[in-house]
Symmetry: C2
Subunit: 429 residues, 2 copies
Amino acid sequence: MKLRKSEHNLASSFNRAEQMSILSRREKHLGNGQKYFYEKPLHIVKGEDVWLIDDRGKRFLDVYNNVAHVGHANPRVTEAITKQSNALNTNTRYLHENVVRLAERLAATTEDLNVAYFCCSGSEANDLAVQLAKAHTKHQGCIVLSNAYHGNTTEIFQLSPEDCPKEHRKGWVKTIPGPKGFLEDQSAYIQGLKEEVEDLIDSGHGVACFIADSIFSSDGIYEIPKDFLKSIYQEIRSQGGVVIADEVQSGFGRLGQQMWGYQDDAVVPDILTMGKPMGNGHPVSALLTHREMVESLDQAYNGNSYFNTFGGNPVSAAAALSVLDILEEDNLIEEARQVGNYLKKQLKKTLEDNESVVEIRGKGLFLGIELDAPSKTAKAMEDMMNRGVLVGKTGPINSVIKLRPPMTFKREHADLLVDKIGQCLGAIS
Amino acid sequence: MKLRKSEHNLASSFNRAEQMSILSRREKHLGNGQKYFYEKPLHIVKGEDVWLIDDRGKRFLDVYNNVAHVGHANPRVTEAITKQSNALNTNTRYLHENVVRLAERLAATTEDLNVAYFCCSGSEANDLAVQLAKAHTKHQGCIVLSNAYHGNTTEIFQLSPEDCPKEHRKGWVKTIPGPKGFLEDQSAYIQGLKEEVEDLIDSGHGVACFIADSIFSSDGIYEIPKDFLKSIYQEIRSQGGVVIADEVQSGFGRLGQQMWGYQDDAVVPDILTMGKPMGNGHPVSALLTHREMVESLDQAYNGNSYFNTFGGNPVSAAAALSVLDILEEDNLIEEARQVGNYLKKQLKKTLEDNESVVEIRGKGLFLGIELDAPSKTAKAMEDMMNRGVLVGKTGPINSVIKLRPPMTFKREHADLLVDKIGQCLGAIS
């Protein structure tokens, strides 16, 4: 056995030669799926609130990374992790205050979803959600939006048509269009849903569940149209199915209104899943549901119900509790509403005469700028990086600039972003 | 939205009334799968090396928890996590030294598995391993041992016959007996394997993979019989399948010989998965394989290859690097061999006249004591807890006492364990 002395405590300064070396070593030793954001990948060595700093000391305003929900390297989150790591990290087969407290606090943010499971990733939470749905309904069929992404386990990859090639899709998965279709013609949309539901029933799969994000990011960042979720939930439930709100992206107040995105359409799902921002980067995710769903899973699995070794451990729970504390203490949901409104207004004002801009959408700190060509969006993402601002791209043809900064994003950051994006799109158009 | 002030920074002393309160609150808010180890669940508030301490200050020698591989609350692991959390936690779409260094160091512990993917749990790593196997072979059939447990995603639950009820098992899953069957009659065993393989081929599934632990824990803690893996690997590969070594339990030197358990049978798998002890409790897992497997997944998924938001983040990588450092600096694999040998010898000596003891098996710091009745094993586990020692139980009928302490377990701890287990089994027999 060869174990080599670690060099992970590296100084924070790297030169170009070292970066090339990291790049080539990485190309040799990492799976290809871990693609880079930029043509010349960024080598980030430090994070501070809404800033990321590269190996040459260049600072980038981060308008993309939602995982660092309460800001990069938030010292309060680190302190919570350190304190609990120094005391104890074990699993939920022992009693511990942290996981109980976390379950209670999360339950209190919902209408009536009062039982929690804890996992490590959004994919795991969604996979468990579908297990619960199938066990409870005794059906197999699932309905998702046609450009959705819900995760990367074998099962959930099936429910991620954004990435899963159509020829791999199993017969128990049916897709319906994104909210744009509903906006265009509600009755035709619901009729289309009914047809997919009938297909599932006719093929013997039945309807186990519908799962959707509560902001339609991969569809191009659309808000929930009024009555959209309500209409779908009604149809799914009328056929004995359950409904899952995937709040991995829209949750924890990102939309600037309430804790969870689905609450904007005045509906209540049967299962709510959460992930990415939950521990500010620490791998923790969760699912909230009703006790009757839990009992169904127990029965289906003969009592061998879901256990996750790392899920709900005291350190992960401490990280998540500290994020909830900071959200509350710093009033970040209201801040997201105000800064998001201001940012959207300023973007509209600055870009109103720009001919490449099709539409500016979204709410809170989750906004999208649709351009008239995907090539322009790709170019803008690179150009913005060169101007010191990190943005993303999304949508069915990747034509939408994705703005989704940490929740600690302030007006001054919005002003900087608007200034740079005005210059950038002015030069591209 | 209601967010309540966290009380996770609790003092370490709790009284009985508070414990009952935690218990009832937990029963209300947590999924049932998170069962307790004991009839009256332990409320652990502190960990120190091989010790766990409950809310009343009672100290338990931990002979069960392998996740705390280098000891509970190891300060060097906490320091690595704290230092990196203070600097940066982001994802693998940016370059970072830690993940590259970790991939290199893990690759160097194997014969030729030089490409890594990083995930958060053993289940995720195994799920990805099966995705790779199916994409590479273009087959669907999987073969597992009849009492195996490999995880809890929808797909991997199918490959966990220990928990998955037989009536839920899909046609693409076939089981073969554990190593005991091979020990009894090698040629009959291989003939049985060939029949399952033929079934998979006849039913159109083909053979995608065989997956097994490298110590047969849920089969009752059996070491790898000589040529066991070698014979199975040969048969699977002759039918175009690949082989996966699940090192989630047996890895990181636990068996006291080499880094990975499969190395004891002088074989090389196509995919190696690892989890639990990798970050000493921090949620991190990984998979090692060949580049050609990665390319197959890319092709199958049209380039939308596997990405995991938290997988390989700089903090998780720092935690894993620190575990590798400590294993090396403290010579823990050799220590596990010596202490494990000593413990096994002392157990045999102390228990040789005990009529309830059927056999003492295993190696390194993964040992099992098979008793002649599951009721005695359950009683011993409770009784040992009352004597201040935590052990587990496993095997097809749960008749085997499972001993699997942190790797920092010393002779003095072995002596204490042997003394207590002698008293315990003496009283039970």
